[in-house]
Symmetry: C2
Subunit: 395 residues, 2 copies
């Protein structure tokens, strides 16, 4: 039979990233397409130990229904750690444990935006957020990235011409897909503009702890004295992505509403892994562990940049991230980056086409995303060689 | 600051059940309010063994991002088991692993219904489903339960007077909150009526394996030859509710659309527990384990019914379930069951007020729900004594 789908979801297509991820069963394909943390970053022996301890000492609670807002000790850990590391958290703030950072984004949009409202985004931006917004029947309007960030004046222009702008979605630190970090002054201006136009800022910071160069830039949430910023993050990039444990820190009124929606979405997040995370935050040297991950990604990004630097400089441009997982590349004078990406895939190098990250699906892609956290050093060298060869064939 | 919430969620309140659950910190309160499985039903030592095995042999995959549709071996297990146990599954069907049965309900409504559409429900019915529908801006229209089930003629009447009826939500077996099981003939008629009015049936069957009396009645999904029935279930009542692993079996076209929405909701379900479930379905005698749970609930329900039978018959009526977790009770001549429930709570017996389960929130509650799976035998005896005493005080 033919099915009629809802107005909000009928035009939704599977994310190109996860589709690429699914098709990466051919072991001869080198993938720079993932958004995955390196398996070397998983503290496996501690997962083994902490799951055993929870099941030995607290199984009845871990296997039973829990509270929607999350395991109380973990919520407290999350608030304490984000206060210490990022200066985040006012009296009015509360933490909700979510099933990965993605659920935080999805539910924030669900509680704050109605069908037909507009979410203002960096252009390009994270496909998972874009599709979450679309699945709620929301419009997305992009503010083009220039240099490190967006231009606040352009942001104002986009807000003014948008229909019911409600939310400003930003990944200020090691942005996905560009790897760029928004300077302090721009962050401040974004918050001022959000106040001026009464927007809520959704600050997505999954990579914030993964800085391997330079100095931390304060989060927008740390400047928030009124509750205008909803902050999403997760343990996916520092402990494990497969366990799906993330969190939202938001004004209590928003947190309560998110909890009501989470209740009817998945009741609560896997409780045993919430307890395991609590152990990671209290019985494990997480800071030392993160320092190791930073060291790993510093090396991997440096290797990929070194290989890229060997391509004739006039042909390709790319970002030099100070942290996170991604480099954004574009070819000078290229009018169809997606076609170029198809050529790469045919030569067994998978990268993510730039159109994936675009608010405006009809806009030609401005580049493509390279990931350095997942491939081996050998794969990085071989993959960039394929990229170089394919560029050389262009002219 | 004051926040403006979305049209769909602004009027949503936390579920009374989870609020009661949260407030049950007073150990002197006897709770018949939970929907929880008995902790005695958790196969803890096998959870210990299987999580160890996954972390010893397959940690890199278990802790990494996975495919949205779910762990492929588990999807195959789910299809095979439901074929064997419930005769479910045609060529066109596919299984999606969800974060508990709740996510299956939420996403099914999201992909099939648009704001302003109506979901037809049994009255009373599961609050988690009602609030999921409301959070998508959907209307709910109730068909009153009479005897074992709903009256098909009344169902047609409700459909005819509903605005854009799209979905028929049914819990045919050991219904929540009533414990009733819909007879075979009514199931057949529901499917015929769904065909006549072009509705999709959402068959929710979380308790289907928990029969302790009588013969299985075929699921509606087992009669579905066209893809009109979406089937939701989970491992919450037979293995662990805290792990949040459930599934949807639906026509491939619907399953694909659900996967697209799941992708932007939580990317995928906790992968280690999907692998653990696969082990439970292939390296563990799940049938023998379920037989034990049935024996446990047979005893507990029999004890609660025996205690209820000792209350003066003219004052209270209640269902005699053949499986599942719940008994539905109502007082003859009582005009305000919610007020009675408040009296019980003041005497330290928590039950769930009937208004919680009502499609129409302005309708006076028709009864209240009693759970026998969670309280101890002693608590069952003591709790029903409080109930008896409170009834006797009424007149």
């Amino acid at each position: 039979m033919e099915f009629i789908f809802s107005e909000n979801t009928k035009d939704l297509k599977p994310s190109a990233i996860r589709e690429i991820f699914k098709s990466l069963t051919d072991p001869s394909v080198i993938s720079f397409a993932a958004g995955n943390p390196s398996p070397q970053s998983f503290p496996v022996s501690y997962f083994r130990r902490f799951t055993d301890e929870v099941l030995d000492n607290n199984a009845d609670a871990a296997l039973q229904y829990g509270i929607t807002e999350g395991y109380t000790p973990l919520r407290e850990d999350v608030l304490a750690r984000n206060k210490r590391v990022f200066g985040i958290g006012e009296e009015f703030d509360a933490a909700i444990i979510t099933s990965g950072g993605q659920q935080g984004i999805d539910l924030t949009a669900k509680v704050l935006c109605s069908r037909g409202d507009t979410v203002i985004c960096e252009e390009p931006t994270f496909i998972g957020a874009l599709n979450a917004f679309r699945a709620h029947g929301l419009h997305t309007a992009g503010v083009p990235m220039r240099g490190d960030s967006i231009d606040p004046d352009e942001l104002e222009k986009v807000i003014k011409s948008a229909k019911n702008p409600r939310l400003l979605y930003l990944i200020p630190t090691f942005q996905n897909p560009t790897g760029r970090t928004m300077p302090f002054e721009v962050r401040k201006r974004c918050l001022e503009i959000a106040e001026k136009y009464d927007l809520i800022i959704l600050e997505d910071n999954p990579y914030g702890e993964l800085r391997f160069e330079g100095e931390d830039v304060p989060t927008i949430k740390s400047m928030d004295k009124t509750g205008r910023v909803v902050y999403c993050s997760s343990f996916s990039k520092i402990l494990s992505s497969g366990m799906r444990v993330g969190y939202v820190i938001a004004h209590g009124d928003i947190a309560t509403k998110i909890a009501v929606c989470k209740q009817v979405n998945d009741v609560h997040t896997n409780l045993l892994f919430q307890m395991v995370c609590h152990k990671f935050l209290t019985e494990f040297d997480l800071d030392a562990h993160i320092k190791n991950i930073r060291g790993l990604y510093r090396k991997k990004s440096a290797l990929m940049l070194k290989c890229l630097d060997e391509i004739d400089g006039g042909r390709i441009e790319y970002t030099r991230p100070n942290g996170g997982l991604f480099i954004w590349a574009s070819l000078n004078g290229c009018e169809d980056h997606d076609a170029f990406v198809k050529k790469l895939v045919s030569k067994k190098l998978a990268v993510v086409p730039g159109s994936t990250f675009s608010c405006d699906l009809s806009r030609p892609a401005q580049g493509f995303r390279l990931n350095y956290s997942t491939p081996s050093d050998e794969q990085i060298i071989k993959g960039v060689a394929i990229l170089k060869e394919t560029i050389n064939e262009l002219h």
